[in-house]
Subunit: 232 residues, 2 copies
């Protein structure tokens, strides 16, 4: 990437920020909705806390390891596709060179214009394969060290997110008070979180805040409705 100053204005969320958003979105929403739902079924706050903590344990492990496996799978997929492309530059070099030319044809280059470019790219086999990976297949090389870091970040964010809606049930003995405190605290957190998330993705902030709170609210309302329906 060139060092021209204007490039820096393009915002690209770092992978860590993305992992925190992934973990925290679900962590704030699902345990919140589950706890609210169980309150709808009029169970004791003790059961709400047990179910909530069990959900946080299950959710953080499932999401964290899920993120780990996804990153590993991406890496393996990249390596196997790269190996295949590499072999093809040996077995069917003319076909592969033709595919490089095809990439340029799509951008309006004539045969005469693209021929020297294709010839230059073919000179270095590694660069040739890299070109095919990125421009023909559209696959970027994943960072091999990402998998564990990603798993840990997602799991920790899920736990932090999940404990926010749950603590009112831990410290308040009155079920109804705990439910309303949890709703208030969680919706406020979702608004702040949606706002921050929108800042990172470049979306409109007020809308981001409202959307995130709406998803949490709808999920909680559905869980509450289902639980109450079963109870009656």
């Amino acid at each position: 990437m060139p060092a021209t100053p204007h490039v820096e204005r393009h915002f690209t969320a770092t992978e860590t920020v993305r992992d925190i958003v992934i973990g925290m979105s679900d962590g704030l929403t699902v345990p919140f909705a589950l706890a609210a739902g169980l309150s709808g079924a009029v169970v004791s706050t003790g059961i709400v806390v047990t179910a909530g903590l069990a959900e946080i344990a299950a959710g953080s492990i499932a999401m964290g390891l899920g993120g780990y496996l996804a990153a590993k799978t991406d890496l393996e997929h990249y390596r196997s596709e790269r190996q295949r492309e590499l072999e093809e530059t040996h077995t069917v070099p003319e076909t592969e060179a033709e595919e490089v030319a095809d990439v340029f044809r799509r951008y309006g280059l004539t045969e005469e214009q693209s021929a020297p470019v294709v010839a230059a790219i073919r000179l270095d086999r590694d660069r040739w394969v890299d070109f095919m990976m990125r421009f023909e297949l559209g696959i970027e090389a994943p960072d091999p060290r990402r998998a564990w870091r990603s798993a840990f970040t997602i799991a920790a964010s899920y736990m932090v997110g999940g404990l926010i809606p749950l603590w009112p049930y831990m410290v308040l003995s009155q079920g109804a008070t705990a439910l309303w405190t949890s709703i208030g605290v969680t919706l406020a957190t979702l608004l702040v979180f949606g706002h921050v998330k929108a800042r990172f993705t470049g979306a409109r902030r007020l809308r981001g805040a409202l959307q995130t709170a709406l998803v949490g609210g709808l999920a909680a309302a559905a869980a509450f409705g289902i639980a109450r329906l079963i109870e009656h």
Copy 2:
């Protein structure tokens, strides 16, 4: 993409398959782990079913709408970045042309080789901007119709996945029998699912099957342990 037959051997999971995998992975794992966890806390199967269904409602809505918002955010991000690139081809055309040249420099082209290519790409402003989006920023144009389809696919897959571990608690009155039936049925499903998923991502199938079952098993064991710990 050229119509040469060998390209077809590269497997790319369709977006629908990916959405089914996303929804089903979590749907099979989290409600399973939650139900097993609550069994560890020796609550009635009635409460397990209520909590499980509340979780499925919350999880499917949170994940489905989360998928919808993610797709929408991707689309907005793409459009705002494209607009910015488009403006820059008007305000700083030479800088943008230099960035096109930079892309080719990384693939070993000399100044003389890249100059006619850059000139050809600049001729059509739309193609020029498309080139920058894909090759400089590495962002592909998202499908605008994807958001709702994605939301529905993820939510439905989560529900289907979540009902598999839950039905034993619905039909069997004995808590321990329901728990073991749920464990057996879910682990078997996770093995099959992991196998199928590995087929789609091109990973090794036996390993994929075992990994997927392991994540579900670990999540359930953690939820079970936490719930039992609170109870005592």
